[in-house]
């Protein structure tokens, strides 16, 4: 029964080394360029890993794009400098690193300061007898933070009380320091190479994007995209037109992104090239309700809001999405709707519900483009991992690109009943601008035409009072004087039939590699009766191979039925493998339990006579028997049409013989 399997799965404690040896041994993935010694942060997906990834993408496309009529696009990874300068990534997407000029080693400044101060505090605690072994405690810490331990040997040295207090204050705000500030701390507290103590080069900003030159001349600098979002934003007008100007609507993109991590670690969790699936849901900032909110409002999830974290707790609040939005813990229905849909998707592909939480970003954690952000986090042996970011990017991106390119990126909403709008407007007597400002005329004109309503109001007053006003214009030296012959500013009331607005963007962003690794951990267990036998209990929908075809022996009588079953499976495009190697049937099943193959079909001498075969279920090793057609129908219904094992096999009869045979797995 389901309960027994649950108990069996929890009997043997999770062991990461054993999981990783199965994943490497069966080539789910491996370090890229292994033959050449590998490159840190780069991984290749082997046949089972690649099939698993394809199934996750297919499920994602059906769950989000097809279900919500989203507009999928495929944009280029090569991105010109100017686009990523405007989006803020060139300036903000960097880590501060310092180099040891002797050894060439590179350290992330914030991680280094944090670990050295923590080590000194632990040494102080050992000296005060508060902690038994500082080094052991430090090892746990590094493990939890998924970081390599830099400080090899902690000396038990007592610190003055005020120094301890200073260190603790610094550690509390460690995420907030800029590069130069970290440099000052390193100098002030003599923080150098954690092993040799050598003074390090002061911190330099290292941009996390891969740079390359586009075209032969080398003048056009470009980067590999750090996210798929920008391609979607730049195509906003085309997407809106494709959607017959109806909003809200969502675009989506599935593809690789790149981050030149300083020190990638923890396998698939921090890599330099990774698959993302991102949705940009464009919504009216004044109306973030969602037409299908009722369909998900009763789903119960565990939330970790900002205020709970600020109080230093990690105890989640379990609430329905409806309650979370009603209490404004989650800002609006659209954000709530996507959080629920993310939950439903993660359940479909094998995430363990008890290891999922939604954590709200702290203020200092937010990306430069985000107004609010909830992370879907999954618990793994590395701790809680951010796998799905659900950010409210408000109108940040469309605004900066529109300003830079002078192209309007807006929604025009026909108003049911037209409204009267009073606005400050400015008229320029163009023919005077040329003679007065010569080559600066265009800059001055564009500055005046893009002034905000407040600016126009204050300039109008000055014009009325002194007949002129001065402004500072980018790219033009000194003050620029405008008088009432050059400009006229007045308030005008108009009837408007159309409301123009820059839509807000809600962005669910999926780190597919991180989700895949978490599902590997959540699905992995060892059979209590034989620890060496591991199982990956993937849902049939995403398992790389669905059926293991096992002729009981290589006797020629079994060949026709085996060939026939293979033919039907191939025709119905159900991925299967035939294992006709000579080893015992138990061993063949064990090998494919490690690949997560949900179904085994055994062909024996009875099959040759009455065309019946047995169907084995991976987790319970239960077996049932029936005709080839009924068995394949059961496989299809359970794998693709959402039927349970009981529903799918209701026309098949329980079968015992093979189960004993399986026990002996020599």
């Amino acid at each position: 029964s389901v309960e027994d399997i649950k108990k069996a799965r929890a009997a043997v404690p999770f062991n990461r080394e054993q999981l990783e040896s199965v994943l490497r041994g069966r080539f789910f993935y491996a370090p890229a360029f292994d033959l050449y010694g590998g490159v840190s942060g780069l991984y290749d997906y082997g046949p089972p890993g690649c099939a698993f990834q394809n199934n996750i993408i297919d499920a994602w496309r059906k769950h989000f794009i097809l279900e919500e009529d989203m507009l999928e696009v495929d944009c280029t990874m090569l991105t010109p400098y100017e686009v990523l300068k405007t989006s803020g990534h060139v300036d903000k997407f960097s880590d501060w690193m310092c180099r040891d000029l002797k050894t060439g080693e590179i350290f992330r400044a914030d991680h280094l300061v944090e670990e050295v101060l923590e080590a000194r505090l632990k040494g102080d605690q050992e000296a005060r007898g508060l902690v038994e072994d500082a080094n052991a405690a430090a090892k746990d810490d590094a493990e939890k933070k998924k970081r390599k331990k830099k400080v090899k040997q902690i000396k038990a040295v007592k610190l003055d009380d005020d120094v301890v207090k200073e260190y603790e204050e610094i550690l509390a705000k460690i995420d907030g320091y800029s590069g130069p500030e970290l440099g000052e701390l390193m100098e002030k507290y003599d923080i150098g190479n954690p092993v040799t103590g050598e003074t390090l080069e002061s911190p330099r900003a290292f941009n996390l994007m891969f740079e390359t030159a586009i075209g032969p001349s080398g003048q056009l600098k470009g980067y590999l995209r750090p996210e798929t979002a920008q391609g979607q934003f730049l195509n906003f007008n085309k997407l809106l037109e494709f959607n017959n100007s109806k909003t809200p609507f969502a675009s989506a993109s599935i593809g690789k992104s790149f981050r030149n991590e300083i020190s990638p670690r923890a396998g698939l969790l921090r890599v330099r090239e990774f698959l993302m699936a991102e949705i940009e849901h464009f919504v009216d900032p004044l109306d973030k309700s969602h037409p299908k909110f009722n369909e998900i409002k009763d789903i119960k999830l565990s939330f970790l809001p900002r205020d709970v974290q600020e109080a230093g707790s990690t105890e989640p609040i379990v609430k329905t999405v409806g309650e979370a939005v009603a209490s404004r813990m989650v800002d609006n229905e659209t954000l709530g709707y996507f959080i629920a849909r993310i939950y439903q998707f993660l359940m479909k592909i094998g995430v363990d519900e008890s290891k999922l939480r939604f954590r709200q970003h702290m203020a200092n954690e937010m990306a430069h483009y985000a107004a609010d952000c909830w992370d879907g986090e999954l618990k793994t042996s590395y701790g809680w991992i951010e796998c799905v970011g659900c950010a409210d990017r408000s109108a940040y991106d469309l605004t900066v690109h529109s300003k830079k390119t002078k192209e309007k990126l807006v929604v025009r909403q026909k108003l049911d009943n037209p409204i009267e709008v009073t606005k400050w407007e400015i008229d320029l007597t163009k023919k005077l601008f040329g003679p007065k400002f010569r080559k600066d005329a265009p800059k001055v004109e564009s500055h005046l035409l893009n002034m905000s309503q407040d600016d126009l109001a204050s300039k109008a007053e000055l014009l009325k009072a002194n007949g002129k006003f001065t402004i500072k214009v980018d790219g033009v030296d000194g003050e620029v004087e405008l008088d009432d012959k050059l400009v006229k500013i007045e308030q005008r009331t108009k009837v408007e039939h159309v409301r123009e607005y820059v839509p807000s963007v809600i962005e669910p962003s999926f780190g597919i590699g991180r989700i895949i690794y978490s599902v590997f951990e959540h699905s992995f267990w060892n059979r209590p009766e034989d620890n060496a036998r591991s199982v990956l209990s993937f849902p049939p929908l995403v398992a790389p191979t669905k059926v293991l075809l096992v002729p009981l022996s290589n006797h020629k009588d079994l060949v026709p039925v085996t060939t026939e079953v293979a033919k039907i499976l191939r025709k119905s495009q159900i991925p299967f493998k035939i294992d006709d190697s000579g080893v015992s049937i138990g061993k063949r099943y064990a090998r494919n339990d490690e690949l997560g193959t949900p179904f085994g079909v055994t062909i024996d001498f009875e099959s040759a006579k009455d065309h019946s075969v047995t169907l084995r279920e991976r987790d319970s090793t239960k077996q049932v028997r029936g005709s080839v057609e009924n068995v394949i129908k059961a496989i299809r219904d359970i794998t693709y049409n959402g039927a349970s094992w009981e529903e799918g096999t209701k026309d098949l009869t329980p079968f015992i013989a093979q189960a004993e045979a399986e026990a002996e797995t020599d």
Copy 2:
């Protein structure tokens, strides 16, 4: 009938501008970063183009990977310098370009010399009265070669006969000149900027790969992969093991590759970032037969072998694949099998059979890694385009990587009956090597242990004659002397149970972007009765959207049936669009004929009563009627289960009314 549609499709001559305006207008694709002025050679796929591409990939995966149990892998695009240096791409993957120091313009040296000499010859022919208008002739040429015309104005100047002869000889061998040789020709014949005549910088090798630095230190130089093949070769041992060491087997990979083209042109046909799907079929060099060859040997294809081209003809030879292999025109069964499978795939996705040929590469055209190569070429308005390369890479790649990394990349084949093998073998008295060669010992040892059989034979003789011999070892200065105390070389006969060989590789490589564009051209036509109405006649399998749902009017009575049909379509995961905009039904159909949507389902007031709807076929605009269930079953059978329109709609009754309504498309 099928014949009528064929005639209708051919009535209006193909017009590329009109196709491109539909493709851009409906956002199949658009220049990437359009908002910022675009970057040449970079394109984004919009919703219909992206869905079309996904369907082509899905069809490719089922046709090749699932059908032949291929091992799909997903390897990284970032590739370290060393790997691409070993594979030959760093040295050979470049074009020679020369720069105009004044204007900064860049010209591909070979194209420049070719066009300038051809222009002078045309001017000479005009001067001799042999050609009426040299400029018009040159324009045709440039169009055929898909190149921008560089020489703007050709002067009719008569050349001496020997100069004409010299020019013709150069043009015949134009592909064979190296960069420096092209530089000499430019000097000798005063070839400079084609417009200004300005002397250009001498040709410099411009590598076609995008370069980037991996990791913070910037020391690890890398490139973006120019092909997906290398990732597959480097994982050969893991793939062989995954396949239980059984050969032949094939790996496959679908993903983006990058080439920093000097001057990208002709839309999707020559771009800098493109999607490839590649198969590496590993086969025994002594046995390139194929177990499923009989299934395809009777397929008739049009071949253009090397000898026909050398004779200056482009007349194809139509033969069955069986005959082509039997006559050794196509070297072996495996190559023949894949050429046939490529043909079958291209037919499935909408290629026009009359616009497909298989052309054998000329000797000087072959990539550095290819022993033989047949290109699947598709005819477009740009001429014949190479869309699928089918190369025999023999053992080139595995050999160079094995040599560089000292890792064996071989197949071990258990021999049914063991064979006696006599081989030269060398024994080293290791303890003497250290003292004699000091730090060079490892290099000397590795050199001796990797000597070929012929080398060992000749050294054995010298050893016997003079008791010593000398060799030249990479990285060791001067001659290295070995005597009979240091080494012993003798012939030994052994019984071998296992034969080790480096497999040959047959590589079908698909340029998905080029195939997509060609299918766009092959599917595009205008309705004879109204030229403004364009149709993209994609096969239903690959059409971006399968069904257009059209309520006859927005009357509320029609809403329940429309919602119900939408629900069933969504549940059976059949992509559809609802067009309930107010325009005429004819206009709504016309809009979706441009998207290639094969089926239209109309809901009228009858539907509200008897739950029946009409089904419209895009090309013939024929309509049939039936229950919602039967209509959706027909759509599924025709789209996914390969049924024809007649078979699929046999339970539905012909329907006339809407057809007239459609005629008036105000």
